[in-house]
Symmetry: D2
Subunit: 350 residues, 4 copies
């Protein structure tokens, strides 16, 4: 463990991803949290927006224009807001971890397809490592820039990676149904997020063309570009994602064969748990017990009637899906214990 | 409207399906509700179990042994409980509507596959009409016996029927993700239904081998037996089902072509609504606004990247998914206005 | 029952109270719903805002300026929006039922106290009957104008009226804790109604000075002006109010004595139920089983340690608390069966 | 910080209080968690019951009969289960912290009143310190035995203590309305905890005679025995308590005077926060942002119409209300930093 703390600031701290970063960084033994920005809340206490931080920090929001140079800058801005100012941010810190979608896709041609506009800083795309440590740990160790993965993408990619890496499933037929809580839509209220309308809903907010599809196909490409059919449905929860993935085995593998592959890839991963038990209430991954934790729980079931394999993957969208993962990436980049500041295991019951 | 009421009793009235039947039948202009049975609650007021019926009825539960002959008997017993006594029940009433799975499948060979036991009264299977009026209205008009459809099956079948009937999709690749509330698991408490454990959950309770698959494949068989890959996930809700169905178009149809087919099949159906709007909060079917109503709302979206069509179908599992549908079936069997006692449109907000 | 329908319009139909009125009036045998206004949604289908009305009505919103004369006008505008235009509305209809707070208080001096402004049409105050039929049925029969009661006030007043009318409790010490769902705050989204913030909350939104206190004290004044200490707390629900009222008996009455008084006042009331059972889950009033119904359920428990009596009163805030009650008031005003269009008993489970 | 860890075991580890203790103790730098008992789950992994502990511990439940001597024993048994075996437990450990109600009341005469039976080990009552550190820190430092406070009692006592200690309010008229989530009723499922029945409820489960009243009156007795009128209502939540307390000021104090008293008592308390802001969503204490944290948030509002003061107090019932408080008590007993293992601040949003 390093004895000298690095200096870190968070740009965009009034949103949910930014607030979660602040919570985690305040508790990180190797980090000094220097500044947190919010244009609309500048001058107010950070805890005036994030009430869990009362009596924990007296930091006040500052504007971006007041940012000081630091060792690492977290960008937690809305999608599309970082790319135009990336040079400025890079001048303030040698290392940047961006939570937005601005630098996730390597191929610039994918931005018009998924985000309806040309990428404004194409030269930066190759500098950013896609920030899921379980896939790109070695690259992250050498990286100065990391792009945070999309929350639904993270659950899907981690759930399916071993199968694709080992070439066990048909890459042309992947159906993923992502169920997700309300916090993933951000901290700004809207007609659709109004509690009487959103409460108890099962809402097909993106049956096709979900933007995370692009990064899922990028990351599951182990030589063959997969076709992922993705649909996203909002359900009653604040935090949490459950990705239910339907894939088709090329060969008639048994569940024990599949176990073996998952164990091989994930047994040493501190934040991946294979959840598949014969009894009990929590026989498969379930996001509610992950709230606040950085775990990704993964389970699977072989359909005995066909070659279908159902893979279930659960995360807290604001932790392993956003900010927890970004802290893990920082830990990797600095060569620290990967679990630093991410020890919270989640609650039961909750 | 007939001037003489028929006499109807409900067997198994302490469960959720039975309670819903009682609520509906008490309000039916052509029905006299005669008896409601419950072995464990015999002698108690029906409203002691179903508090919404306070001041509405003073009926008390009786035992099955006290049943009197009636015109129509509803059976709302647990699965497997009706089949062994079907002759006895038939001796009490010329017409029977059974809500359980005991008489849904026409092929006796399917019972061992889906229910792990031989059917005990195979000779009865052909007498029961599968009770979804939108598919079997003409048969129901002539029928004395109707088998209530499974709740997840109903949502799926109604959502996909036009596509299969018109041969528009590949029957060999159908993936259905059913999301469902807690009332579908019945009125008996268990460790998994304990509120601290069930609340806020996204629980993969049946990733493969869901029993409703059998009836879905039976009903979507328009000459070609389909293969349906079904998974069921519990989400936070008491009532409600959203079936998200992924099918693949054989030809490159536009959404307007698909509209045409759905309109043709459903435009005159009083309980089917096509829900597909460009703006607003409720752009696609959503079960929460259906609670208490007998509607099945259906929507669809063509994936512009592939030949996938996503069909979304929403119902109240206790209404169109069970008891409302059974009242509709009775209305058809007696040649009454099909919407009798089913006029409630649901609440907004809720 | 009249054979000729009256013509009715709803002013302010995009809100929750207005939407509920539309739902009820569409189902009322003696009413023709003529127009529904919304300034911001004029030209759109009513069902584009209230999705439960799809396939039930093709009415479109109109502006207030397009209103035609009718027999009865419902005003469902935000508080303070009716008073300035009351003469105009009165010129359009001989009868008006206003859901807002604009005409609830008889004493003009109370408006500055509770609403921070002088009343703009004091001469109208005496024309409006406070619209709870259980208290003012005879007046309503003669009335042309009725002021809808506040939702929290309705639950409290109906819960406590028998005790005050019979002079059984100390009027100087009344503590009421109202728990309430999110729909009561209206249909406009805000930071506080944003689902991630509102979901699962227990929020003291008005510990003191709740405006409904004024009408509660007005209506419980049976010769002695009471002092009501009111606090309101938001809890997780969309619909529903539970008022828990703590009062102190002047004499050492037994529960059976109290039963007698409640029976005397409420036994013939179609929408009041005394709920107090020794066993079962629903031993006391609970709003969730009232959603969509017009019932007010009332229970009580004598504290054996002191002279405290706890009275619990539950309603659906949009039904008996607003629109259901307003339809009931109309039924009274026209001498119709009081339960017309209000037969729905609520769901179980829900 | 001590360098040698103490050895601790948990008796009754399959319940919610016991599970929370295990979670906290596994993370405590000065504690070695030795054994966790469960008679019904002996031999199973602790994480088979508490899924948040997967990959965190491989401990298995043992029976009580297998308990080894340790430095400190936590008793997390159902109420009434510890008292009969207290000598046996005391023979196993020099220090005991009991979470049940068995040793909370000092006066043996109160047990028949509140718990309907004579206390079976009266000689032990004086040995147990009532375990709220904010009230009894000095005693706890010298104590070997501590009795965990009731969860609703803790919220109420901490909310009101400064007012009673300083003699500011009328002790004869205290009304407390406790709102509470489902986890407080324990881990055993029942008809009332069945999700379809419990979900979304506002349930008056104890309008009078709540057992925690006894300890509240004991702890708020600063020379004058108070009379506390307590009512408890279940609302939709898994964790969380909000106690809304209505008290009456003896003199006409301003809010700033009251601030002063609360500051004096609580400013140095690491787990008490005064929450009272003029703007923002979280202007008053709200339990949802406290889930998993050991904070007690307290706010108040002076009624400008009367001498009423409304005090609001929020906790996580399983943390400050049970297990977090018990870990804090241990930290005090051993002279450690009081916040050890209790650093988690809660989530936002959640």
């Amino acid at each position: 463990m390093s004895t000298q703390k690095i200096r870190v600031s968070v740009v965009g701290g009034s949103g949910y991803g930014g607030g979660e970063l602040v919570r985690l960084l305040l508790n990180h033994p190797n980090v000094e949290l220097v500044q947190v920005t919010s244009e609309s809340n500048a001058g107010k206490f950070v805890h005036s927006i994030h009430p869990n931080l009362r009596k924990r920090t007296d930091l006040k929001f500052v504007t971006i224009s007041a940012l000081q140079p630091v060792d690492l800058l977290y960008l937690a801005l809305p999608h599309g807001s970082a790319v135009g100012r990336i040079d400025k941010f890079a001048s303030l810190a040698p290392r940047i971890i961006d939570l937005s979608s601005d630098f996730r896709l390597h191929d610039p041609a994918l931005y018009p397809q998924w985000y309806e506009h040309e990428h404004e800083a194409k030269e930066w795309l190759s500098k950013f490592v896609y920030g899921i440590p379980e896939l790109h740990r070695d690259q992250l160790k050498e990286a100065n820039y990391s792009a945070g993965a999309g929350c639904l993408a993270t659950a899907t990619i981690l759930g399916l990676m071993p199968l694709f890496k080992h070439g066990l499933v048909d890459p042309s037929m992947v159906i993923v149904e992502g169920k997700i809580g309300s916090s993933a839509a951000g901290y700004k209220s809207s007609a659709g997020s109004h509690h009487p309308e959103r409460s108890g809903s099962m809402r097909s907010f993106q049956p096709t063309m979900h933007r995370h599809t692009g990064e899922i196909e990028q990351e599951l490409n182990f030589g063959v570009k997969p076709t992922v059919h993705f649909s996203a449905t909002s359900v009653e929860a604040v935090r949490g994602i459950l990705a239910t993935c339907h894939v088709f085995l090329k060969e008639d593998l048994q569940e024990k064969d599949i176990w073996k592959v998952y164990r091989q890839e994930y047994n040493n991963e501190p934040f991946i748990r294979i959840v598949k038990t014969k009894e009990g209430i929590y026989r498969y991954p379930e996001p509610k017990v992950l709230s606040g934790s950085n775990f990704c729980d993964i389970g699977f079931e072989r359909d005995t009637r066909s070659n279908r394999l159902v893979v279930m993957s659960a995360i807290d969208n604001l932790m392993k899906g956003t900010s927890g993962n970004a802290v893990q990436a920082m830990n990797v980049m600095y060569g620290w214990e990967e679990t630093l500041a991410l020890e919270f295991v989640g609650l039961h019951p909750v």
